[in-house]
């Protein structure tokens, strides 16, 4: 019912803003309105720098997250393989010179590791070493 109310105020504001010819006119208007234009500009530049740096950080984090998600998607889960394949791959992983020393030492008693744990370790290792296709 009120959709066609006349926006007189908007027309007057458009008019009042339309004749600002120079930056000095604008600054004088700001002074009239109670601002210190130089102080405002300096404060704004500091905030802008922080806003852009925060934006850049967030954009980089989003890109990394996206790359990580793509990596996860591209890795075939060891859960879909046969238990023989899993056992063989796990054995190879433990014997591999490139396997981190700590990881190999943590599983000295290889018989005590369940198939589920082997799958989880193989998946994590494949994710960390995505470029190393030998384990896939």
């Amino acid at each position: 019912m009120n959709n066609i109310i006349d926006d007189m105020h908007a027309r007057i504001l458009t008019g009042l803003e339309s004749t600002d010819q120079s930056i000095d006119d604008v600054k004088n208007s700001l002074i009239t309105s109670g601002y210190d234009p130089d102080k405002e500009l300096a404060a704004f530049k500091a905030r802008l720098s922080s806003i852009i740096s925060r934006h850049t950080w967030k954009a980089e984090a989003r890109a990394k997250q996206s790359a990580f998600n793509n990596k996860v998607m591209s890795i075939i889960s060891w859960a879909s393989r046969s238990s023989e394949d899993i056992d063989a791959a796990f054995k190879t992983l433990m014997a591999n010179q490139k396997t981190p020393h700590g990881l190999a030492m943590a599983f000295r008693n290889l018989d005590a590791i369940t198939l589920e744990d082997k799958i989880a370790i193989l998946n994590d290792y494949a994710l960390l070493n995505h470029d190393d296709t030998s384990l896939q």
């Binding site: 803003e17 004749t19 852009i52």
Partner: protein, 220 residues
């Protein structure tokens, strides 16, 4: 050419802020003054603010929303000043509208003697509540601008310029053609009109004693 968000960030970073920032701050300040006099905006340290948010906040917010893509900017189609001006105006209108809606809810709650039944309702969305708020907003803004016209009624030149703006003549040459004012004089009068408007909005309390909104606020 399509711009991704990193292009947009670089364009914003390298924009000529020495001239752009004062213009946009001024635009935000002026736009916020629409809410003065009826409680949607208030004066703090001589400047308008809406629920604690000042003109600088709206400029920052417009930039953030452009950077994260919430407000799309096509640099080929619109320059940064026009884009940010539009985002600032839209953000301010949206905040003013939310004040109107909240005041309405308070009013209804006041009349009903309870707020529980209203606060518990889901947001009705941008349907009837939105258009009612928009109508309310325009009505209150127009009361303010009409009161300003009455305030300058003794000055025939200012009235002529005001009425030219109201008739959507913004170019000084066009205004000169439809009034008896000279172009140079129009620039002077525009500055004078602006100063008077700013001072008026700082002191305007509004002919709103009968307004539901004012009554609602006083009851709070």
């Amino acid at each position: 050419m399509a711009h991704d968000l990193s292009d947009i960030a670089e364009l914003i970073r390298s924009a000529p802020w020495d001239s752009l920032q004062p213009q946009l701050l001024h635009h935000a300040d002026f736009t916020m003054r629409k809410g003065l006099g009826w409680g949607a905006a208030a004066i703090s340290d001589g400047r308008p603010c809406i629920e604690g948010r000042d003109a600088a906040w709206f400029l920052d917010e417009a930039i953030k929303k452009t950077l994260d893509g919430t407000r799309k900017w096509n640099p080929e189609a619109v320059d940064l000043r026009r884009h940010l001006s539009e985002v600032i105006r839209s953000l301010i209108d949206s905040h003013l509208k939310s004040v109107v809606v909240r005041n309405r809810i308070n009013l209804i709650a006041d009349k009903a003697g309870t707020v529980a039944s209203i606060e518990g309702r889901p947001d009705p969305g941008p349907t009837s509540a939105d258009s009612i708020a928009r109508g309310e907003l325009l009505r209150e803004q127009n009361k303010l601008i009409r009161a300003f016209r009455a305030h300058i009624a003794d000055d025939a030149e200012l009235i002529a310029l005001f009425d030219a703006y109201d008739a959507e003549y913004y170019d000084p040459r066009e205004i000169a053609a439809v009034t008896s004012l000279k172009v140079d004089r129009i620039y002077e009068l525009s500055r004078k009109l602006k100063t008077k408007y700013v001072k008026f909005t700082m002191t305007y309390s509004g002919p709103l004693e009968q307004s539901d909104l004012v009554i609602a606020r006083r009851r709070k």
